[in-house]
Symmetry: C2
Subunit: 555 residues, 2 copies
Amino acid sequence: MIGVKVVIVGGVAGGMSAATRLRRLDEQAQIVVLEKGPYVSFANCGLPYYISGEIGNRDDLIVESPAELQARFNLDVRPEHTVTKIDPVTQTVSGTTSGGRSFTESYDKLILAPGAKPLVPDIHGLADAANAFVLRSIPDLDRIMLTLHQVQPKQALIIGAGFIGLEVAENLRRRGLAVTIVEQTPHVLPPLDEEMAAFVQQELQAHNVRVITGQSVTTLQDDGHTAQLSDGTTLSTDLTILSVGVRPNTDVAGAAGIKLGLRGGIVVDDHYQTSQPNIYAVGDAIVVTQQITGQPALIPLASPANRQGRQVADVIAGLPQRNRGSIGTAIVRVFDLAAASTGLSERAARQAGLDVAVIHVLGKNHAAYYPEATPINLKLIFNPHTGEIYGAQGVGVDGVDKRIDVLATAIKGHLTVADLPELELTYAPPFGSAKDPVNMLGYAALNITEGLSTHIQWYQLPDALKNGAILLDVRDPDEIAEGHFPHSVNIPLNDLRDRLNELDPKQTYIVSCRSGQRAYIAERILRQHGFQVKNLDGAYQLYQAVRPNDLVYPK
Amino acid sequence: MIGVKVVIVGGVAGGMSAATRLRRLDEQAQIVVLEKGPYVSFANCGLPYYISGEIGNRDDLIVESPAELQARFNLDVRPEHTVTKIDPVTQTVSGTTSGGRSFTESYDKLILAPGAKPLVPDIHGLADAANAFVLRSIPDLDRIMLTLHQVQPKQALIIGAGFIGLEVAENLRRRGLAVTIVEQTPHVLPPLDEEMAAFVQQELQAHNVRVITGQSVTTLQDDGHTAQLSDGTTLSTDLTILSVGVRPNTDVAGAAGIKLGLRGGIVVDDHYQTSQPNIYAVGDAIVVTQQITGQPALIPLASPANRQGRQVADVIAGLPQRNRGSIGTAIVRVFDLAAASTGLSERAARQAGLDVAVIHVLGKNHAAYYPEATPINLKLIFNPHTGEIYGAQGVGVDGVDKRIDVLATAIKGHLTVADLPELELTYAPPFGSAKDPVNMLGYAALNITEGLSTHIQWYQLPDALKNGAILLDVRDPDEIAEGHFPHSVNIPLNDLRDRLNELDPKQTYIVSCRSGQRAYIAERILRQHGFQVKNLDGAYQLYQAVRPNDLVYPK
């Protein structure tokens, strides 16, 4: 008995998840996987770590071989097979092997998992720059490693400060290269908001990575050894990595009449079916529904790709299954820090026209009284009226992944800010706190929604001060001495009740401390005594990271 | 203007959270905190770590002093004040200071946060054992430290292998003492299920802690230096720690006519109100609703206590707030392992008469190809028909806290097993995997609920083998050589399709591998070829940890 013939184009995350799940569901199916590259099922996300030797064995990046996949899953896996044409009428795909041989393969069902391909920025002279590379595959990595060994470059230029750009920057730095990052947008890690990214930029600079934001590379000259920026300055580079993002790899799909949508992504229904019968698509190449906005989105991440691959196998095998959309969760290690986000950024939420409030909380990875407690900066983006959670971001040394995972779970579960204090999270001194930072986010958000606290954001501070508000710093004098706002009134919190007569009930006060905890207490004292008061969200430690450069102080 | 007078009995987690929140809500309130011990707001959960010096500074255990609380929160905090009587009619509390002075204090509102007190086991001769201690407060700790310094004990006996017992055992071991733990129930960490606790017991033994389960200490003699167990054996001990659990500290409340419930816990309504007007109660002393069963429960943990304290302040200040119940989440570090649980154990779920299925998944803390990946054993307890999640447990070196926190959040959010694969968790090689172990729990549970896999649990194995089922181990020969079931058939997974003719379609096969992943693939192959097959949940690595000692093999 011969079963259904399923051809899968692309053998990494989505494609290989589909192939193996389908086999577990259907021993009879004929499953053919066509992969353009020399490797299937490789550890895409591990590539940057091989540059520094942190992952020391290249074989570790290759999770499974075609022979192993044949033996275990009875899969017909064909690397070096590039599909160049899909014919939905005859139900065939055709293409060329890297050896130059043509092939044609018929299918009953076709799963497209072609992934994304690196965006190539419009840089004059890039084609002649033999020292410029992307990093998306093992052959890409091999080319970079060859250059590192043969040329022994001293200086590297990273174009694009997204997740992969920062990983490559760190790993090149660990090899001892001088590294410069050029990012076109105003700050590193564009998926994060500016003030959270500021902590990451500080960390990069603390490790002697030069960071240039708001600039693009316009020209590469001297065989790629000199880069010119949009402001005219030039940089020397021995090795250049392009990491400005990806776009769906869908030219072949589009040419076959398969409907494409947002930025060329393949349009699929809830069952991963494309506009053409018997053709499905998953992974980085498809348009998904952003669950929070309900809008179409491209979310090129490994986790959704793997899930989608498994789910499309269910669909083809006749199990009830549908794509419920994605929220997008990501993390990156940057030297001693981790930076992570889930859901919408403040910027994305505002762009989507949502009713947005944000709070910042400075927590600790575990009990403050237990050794090696380290700070975590958390940000929550939510609806101040319904409490709906739109997104969260975190930056810290340890435990950021945990908090963002909890918040990602809360978003998926449609929990509101009122549910966050209710979360009972693991607490013993080495692991957490009786009031976890996630609980604290909930408390702080409720203080906003219940009207107990009125926040002002760091970017609103310049205008507020211009309009005459007075900044009241309630830290202790020894803290003030270590760093302070250019102009502020200082009354330590513990003295505040006794010194209320020093304040003017006709003024508006903006209270701040180091992290925000004491400022909130001060706000409550002042408000109950009839003062007009706002709380500087994130307080001094956030301000000193982002330092709004247009801060104007009252004369 | 003088505000409401609120007296709070108990100044640690729940009581102090209530006091500080109330102050933030009400500057006018008169807030008096009566604490029987010498310290308020101390780090209860940190005490064991001071024994080994891991927390080196005793002051770090005392989070806030009465003077600081006065200055910052205008609280009237009175340590060494033991309340011995509550009079709901005159609205007064009275008692004695540790200096012997009597006091009486009137209240408008009374918040009882008396906590729990250690259960003292019924041991003959305990009263004469000057070397036997409990560990619940800083004075308890001081007594233990004094003995450690003065007597320089060589051998310690821990009675009770719950969370605190294990923490004390580890910290005494780190000081170099020979440590024996005696636990009355059949396994250590009674809140966990037996097979998960088995990993913890292995870890204790690997660090030369002697573990005796299923025995109680009946007698202490020779001034406490000889312990006799229920089976008649004797143990020498220089230092004995009693950690057999706690019970609500509610004698005074009960004497005042306040209604007590489950095991003497104070009965409160959703607003923390007791049966007496103007008297509220929070923390370890109250009966809460176990959210999953809806049944009354005692959950003496810091996280709910802090939340309840804050919420009762809201109630008294007139903010809408109610107690939504608890699920119970806990974690303990045991040498290099962490062991954690949330919600119901399998045992508790079965005792509650719930429809229960369980699965075990062996995952990794982060990407397997990234250095220092370590295993995590996870267990999920759920309803096989509705997918409702009842509880979860985890044991591993790293990342257990994160997975249990995600699952605790899922339970609070009423997510089902079908939602777990949908969770988009942070993934970069140092932090996680594209398919996180939590996602894998969801996939494995769905395979059960969808009928794709039929599990057999480790404790069902003896009967199944007795009834003639054949154990089929699909590991490779080199793995088998390292350790194996006493009797099993071995066909490596990759050979299975070619060797189906060696199997008897009339038999029932129980498939196993190391972790369960290959066994599931084997199960799917066999099932589709018409064999009767069950999957040994948790596979060999779970079996070798728990080794059912009544395992009977077919002749």
